[in-house]
Every structure is written in structure tokens, then in C-alpha cells.
Amino acid sequence: MAINLDPKVPQGPLEQKWDKHKFESKLINPANKRKFTVIVVGTGLAGGSAAATLAELGYNVLSFCIQDSPRRAHSIAAQGGINGAKNYPNDGDSVKRLFYDTIKGGDYRSREANVYRLAQVSNNIIDQMVSQGVPFAREYGGYLDNRSFGGSQVSRTFYARGQTGQQLLLGAYSGMMKMVAKGKIKMYNRREMMDLVTINGKARGIIVKNLITGELERYAADAVLLCTGGYGNVFYLSTNAKHSNASAAWRCYKRGAAFANPCFTQIHPTCIPVHGDYQSKLTLMSESLRNDGRVWVPKKEGDNRKPAEIPEEERDYYLERVYPSFGNLAPRDVSSRQAKFRCDEGKGVGPTKQAVYLDFRDAIKRDGREVIAGKYGNLFEMYERITADDPYKTPMMIFPAVHYTMGGLWVDYNLMSTVPGLHVLGEANFSDHGANRLGASALMQGLADGYFVAPYTLGHYLASTPLEKITIEDNAFKDAEQAVRLQTDRLLKVKGKRTADDFHKELGHYMWDYVGMSRNEAGLKKAIDGIRKLREEFWQDVNVPGDTGNMNLELHKAARVADFLELGELMALDALERNESCGGHFREEYQTEDNEAKRDDEHFAHAAVWEYTGANSSPVRHKEELVFENLKLATRSYK
């Protein structure tokens, strides 16, 4: 099957592309919109904002979420903030600068036109959220407050204490609830998407599993919006929620949606370190802490003194030393890698020696405890609850952890995948962050896609595409449902000895050791080989008790792990084929003398786009060449 990777970027100057495109898009008159049904899978910032907006416009929306309520989607856990190019602080920000910072932050591996549009609509998002009653932080004069985030020299991050994601999500959720009450959104909670249904090559429906009854259900529509987040949980331990998974996106991949840059994973520098084998997830400590916290390790290897006993001159504030102009606010990929280097040198701290300090001593001395508590109080409390250490008195210990995936299903400028009608929004797509995402930009992208992009581009698709009349009794639905049923039966029949979590944890070790913060050819080959064997073993030895037709939690989990076991291999393969270092993808073979990522623009200034070719054949790697007309490709430096 040939796939079409035309990004469909509109012609014309960068600044005018989106306006021009909106004007040229076909419209559907209000009375006709109610004749269309749209499926939105996922209710995070992308899915929630899209569902609410499409319903307001008059479409019939079917919304699906895996939790017991749309208000629980994992966007809720974002702490620090959301970027907007308002330039309220008068410090030199502009749409163009946000665009530039995002492209540079992504190490020149994203599409210019998409990123520019993202920066353009960033301001509308702030306005929209304020109007919905999001209580952003304010100054005494009543104006909105801003703070700084990594990879930028301006203050453009809007925030609501350390709960920005929660407040934005509840804003989007409240918009949804308003439209559920009006009957324009039909809400399906505790449902998991199991497959995409395509008819005549177009996405026309989904098969979902009711997680309470175990029954499979069919839903038909005129288009499908996939807003199911990222796949960081392939590592088992990540900052993602326990139910975040790759299955919906992965099943779409197997139905023809190409997967772009699967190896681009963000490892966040400030997380609470791993402390035991029983551990089920990792907890992020917001990047905003680096506004005031200083990152350091002892200069001496294996220094076992308490942090307070280590004098100033024996501390290495390595981010300030290596990156004087950005200091502790160096971007995430760079900061994570530096933490790893220090621990590899034997300077790590804490019981496992896999941690560095994030110290607020100087900030508390400068501003007083009250000011610091006002900014980060809830984060400090959370840290203390988990670790039993008080960060007002002793530095936090932090270490990088898997946090976000820049890769995802390939989409064109209209956010449509290679399957016509299947639109992919938010973290689930690959579009805007290149090889590394800047802090406070995930919330921005999810809401941009859902509020301000998809509602336009979807309208154009529906207005310009002939859509045959279909029902859920069509063969395509029966076949897709049957395929899910067969896989379920297969999982139940194995009756092996190892649990799904067992396999997931072992996969996680392969991913972290060989497809994590730094990668090399030998390691990646080892990972591919190991994951293949693990997958074979899974299908011979997994133990899933119980049966279908009820709330079988192990069965739900095993189906997700089966998909992770396939995705993990593709990530390793993608990392192996990308013979350069860029952003979060650090290949040890390709580094500068001072251990920075060394890009190869001549050979790799493209998105790697993978096409599924069947269970028994290798996926095919295609390219979308990235064209830089407005920015010059430059070596990324934060020194």
C-alpha cells in the first residue's frame, strides 16, 4: 500500500498560512452540521476541548474515556503551566519568538508551519481558558501572572499554582458537561478503544470494550478523532497515569495510520527517583521548581556526606557551569542527559546513587520561606508525602524519568493521519515538538489542536469528502469486532505462569537500558532481539485468569501489554535507523567533543514515518522531508 505523506502545508508566507487556509476551507452550514456524527476518543485537553467545541458548532459528538469520568484524563496531572505568547511581562516575547523557541527546542525536527500556527493560537487559548473560569495566578493589580520555563529566556508561562493541567482540564471538562446536558455530546465512560473501523479506506467507526461488562460495542461516525495521549508507559515506569496506554493508537497504526518518530521520547529531568521493585509509577516534580531551585552534585565521587555538610566550594552546580546563559532552566533533554552524565561519573547521591540535588536553600534565604511556599507549597508537600524528606530543610533528590512522547501517529497540516477521516490530536500525534518538547507546551498543543485547529480542518474534511451511508451492521464492523474477540480468546487460552505486569516490567528494563536517555547501535540491536523473544514468551506464558463478560482487570491489562511489546520494538528500530543525535534522541556514536547532541541535517532533517505491513513482515520506513524556509538550521546551544 502506498502511503501519501503530503503535509498539505498551505502556500504563502508563514504568517499568513493559517488565515489563508481557514478562509479556503469549506464550511458546513449550521443546519447541516447536525447531520454529522464525530467520534472523539479520549477526554484530555485535546479530546475534551475538541468534543466541547465540535458540539457547540452543532455536530453530534460521541465521546469515549477509559476512566470513570472525563474529568480524570491524565492532562490533569500537568503541574507547571501553559505557554502563551502574550508578552504581558514586556520582556520581548512574540508569536515569532515562541515559534522560534519551539523549533529550536525540538532540535529542528518539527514542521515549521504547524509550529507557527501553534504559537499563533497560543494567545487565544489563554483568553478562552480565562473566560471559562480557570483561576490563573494573578498579581495584586488583578493582571495575569507569568513565570519562566526551560528553553526560553522570556516569562510566558501562565499557571494555576502547581495544578495548571487540572484547572485547564476541568475547564475543558466543564465545557463538555455543558454540551452533554444539551444532548450534543453522548458520553461513554469506562470504555477502551480496541480497534478502528475503516470502510472504503476511510475511518468510519470504532470498536470499544466496556470495561465493566467486558462486552464489545460498535460505534459508527463520519470521522474519528483520536486524542488518546502518548505511549510513555511502554517503559512501565513513567510519570504517565496507570491507564495511559498505546493500544488505541497502535491499533490505528495496524489499520494504516503511519507512525512518525516513535523513538522521540522525553525524559523529564526532575522526577522523584525510583526506590523499589514494587514501584508502580514515577512522580514528576514540576519544571517550574527550576525557577528557584539549583541543581547540583558533590564534586567528589562517592561523597556520602549529608548535603548540608558539603561546603559551597565542593558542590558542582553543573547546569549553571555548563550552560551559563540558561543555567538551571536548560531544556529537558539537555538537563536530563547532564544528570545522567553526573551519575555515570559516580557523583550521584542518595541510597541508589541515581539522583541529583535540587536545592532551595538559596532561594529561601533570598525570598523567605513564605514566598517559596506560595509558589511551590503543594509540590513540597507532595514530595514530603512520598519521600518523608522536607524540602524546606534538605534538598530534593531528583532523577530523570519518562514523561512524554513527541513521536506519534503522523498527521498532515490538517491533523489528519494517513487514514482519511482519522484525525489525531494532542500527544497522540507527532506534529509540533520535534525531538524534544519544551515545558508548558503540551497543554498548549493539546488545547490548540482541540479548540482552534481540528474544528476548522474537520469541517473541511466533512464538507469535501463523499461519505457513504453505513451502519454498525456492515461487515467491516463485524470483522473488526471478531478480530478483537479472537485476540481476547487467545490471551485467555495461554494460561501460562507469568503475569502481564511481569512482562511489562521486563519490557520496561529493555526500554530504559537501551532505548532510554542514551542509545547505541549494539544496545538497540540487543533490545530488538530481546523484545522479540519476550513477545514470543508472552504469547506462550502469560497468565490471565478469569474470562470475558465481566470486569476482568488482568485481561484489560494484558491486551495493552501485548501492544506495548510490539511498539517497543518499533521504537528501538526507529532509534537504530536514525544515525544522528537530536533532542531527546541521543545516540552515543553521534556527539560533539563536549557531549552535546550532534545532528546530521544532511541525512536526517526528516520525520521518519513507519508503515505497518503485516504481522510477519518488517515495517517500512518512509520520510517526510522537513523544509525550513523561515529559520536557518543551526546548532542548538544553551551555553
Binding site: 469520568s69 473560569g133 458537561m177 510519570t239 508502580s280 497468565n543
Partner: protein
């Protein structure tokens, strides 16, 4: 890195479906580490059950960092274990001692029917929100974010109310099964903000009415809700809700559509 040395006796509520009878079942978990979270301790127990081919204990959870509001559980009779500003997922085993017996039950309230084991149906919370827990600002309507100034103390107080995670601990702790803390928090948040004013009377009337019809009880100021709320939400917000409701009940009149109203 090794697991710890606490041994615990658990009495956990098992109930295969909402319609079936439930009972407390005894379990023992050994080698628990004080750094383990409460849910990670149940994970270990579930792992043992699965290896024996038994049905694991069903409980709701997702983010495991205290913000999504999905985890619930009554631990020793208290919602989320009864620790200050803490959800179940953030309860750590260092709060217990070797040899302790811990009783784990689902949230119990008329408005929260049991689904399975420790999982309950909290869709009533969404239904109360649908009745008015929003500002009707359709996408694209918004003016500049700084066009309406909001004094910092007001924004901060609105944020205090907005911190609600919709977990339902307030309902489970209330002797009346009342949802007035989570509902009051939303009504109060939106009543504090200028953006929320146009719909404020309507919001309080509709939400309170819906709340009552869903089987949530009334508030008789026991304040158990405030004591167990993992986000420290104050019952002052119930007071503000009451004021909003009273004001609206006396003064608000909406013409019905047939009378020519919108």
C-alpha cells in the same frame, strides 16, 4: 531497593458485582516496605492473587499522584485513610506498623452504588456538574485574558475552591451522604469570579436541585467532609453556596420558553 519487613493483615471488601452480596475477606501481605504506597501494597496482593489464578481486587486508580481523583477506598473507616490533604494513592505504608490489621472498604453512599469490590459509580458527580458547573463561554467568544481584572485574593480564593478533584471523599465521609462540599466548591469558585456572574443564580438553583434528586443528602454541618477532603477544601464554600442559593431562590426568575423567555 529491597522490599521491607512489615507484615500486615488486611480485611478487604469483596463484592463481585453491584447486585451481589459483599463481605470482608482476610488477606495477609508480607514484606511490605515503608516507602511503598498503599496502592502498591494492594498491587503486591493482587499479584499474588493473579499468580494463584484468583480474581484480583478491583479498585479505581489512575494518576497515582493525588490529582485525578480516581482512587477512593475507606481505610480503617476513613475516606482516603483520613490523613491530612492526602488521597489514597499518596498514603504510604510508613504510616502503618508491622502487624497492623487494616480494613479496606469502598466509599459508601446512596449516590455511589458499588460496581465491584472497592470500585463505586460516582457518575452523580458528573451529573451535578452538567446541571451548571460551567461558564457558558463557547470557543472563540473570549476577550483578552487581561480585559477583566481579578484581584489576587479573589483569584486565590477561587483557586482554593477549584482545587476539588471530584473524588467523592466528602460524600463518603458525610453521615448524610451529602455532596455539598464538591458542589459548593464549584458554585463558590464560579461565583467568586466575574466571568461566572451572568449564570450564577441559575447555576446554584439547578445544581442544588439536581444534587438532591440524585440521592445525595443535605448538609447538617458535621464538617466531616472538610476534615477528610484531600485538597483541604473549606466548608466556607458550602456557606457561599447557601448564600448564592438563597439569593437566587428569592430573586431569580426566568421566563419559560412558552412565556417568551429564551
Amino acid at each position: 531497593m529491597s522490599a521491607g519487613n512489615m507484615n500486615l493483615n488486611l480485611k478487604i471488601w469483596r463484592q463481585p458485582t453491584g447486585a451481589a452480596e459483599g463481605k470482608l475477606v482476610d488477606y495477609r501481605v508480607e514484606g511490605v516496605s515503608p516507602d511503598q504506597s498503599f496502592l502498591e501494597m494492594i498491587d503486591v496482593l493482587n499479584d499474588q492473587l493473579v499468580r494463584k489464578g484468583e480474581d484480583p481486587i478491583a479498585f479505581d486508580h489512575d494518576c497515582r499522584e493525588g490529582i485525578c481523583g480516581m482512587c477512593s477506598m475507606m481505610i480503617n473507616g476513613k475516606a482516603h485513610g483520613g490523613y491530612k490533604n492526602t488521597t489514597t494513592c499518596q498514603v504510604h505504608m510508613r504510616l502503618y506498623k508491622d502487624g497492623d490489621t487494616i480494613i479496606v472498604e469502598p466509599f459508601r453512599a446512596k449516590a455511589f452504588p458499588i460496581v465491584k469490590d472497592l470500585t463505586v459509580d460516582r457518575s452523580g458527580i458528573d451529573k451535578v456538574m452538567m446541571a451548571g458547573g460551567f461558564i457558558s463561554a463557547n470557543t472563540g467568544n473570549a476577550q483578552d485574558g487581561n480585559a477583566v481584572l481579578i484581584p489576587k485574593p479573589i483569584a486565590d480564593e477561587a483557586m482554593d475552591a477549584a482545587a476539588c478533584i471530584g473524588c467523592g471523599a466528602c460524600v463518603a465521609s458525610c453521615p448524610n451522604g451529602s455532596g455539598m462540599l464538591f458542589m459548593g466548591a464549584k458554585i463558590s469558585q464560579l461565583a467568586l469570579l466575574p466571568q461566572g456572574q451572568p449564570e450564577s443564580p441559575r447555576r446554584s438553583l439547578n445544581m442544588v436541585h439536581t444534587h438532591d434528586t440524585l440521592g445525595f443528602g443535605n448538609c447538617t454541618t458535621h464538617a466531616e467532609c472538610e476534615a477528610t477532603c484531600p485538597k483541604g477544601i473549606s466548608i466556607e464554600h458550602i456557606a457561599r453556596m447557601n448564600r448564592e442559593y438563597l439569593k437566587a431562590a428569592f430573586t431569580y426568575y426566568e421566563k419559560s420558553r412558552s412565556e417568551g423567555g429564551a
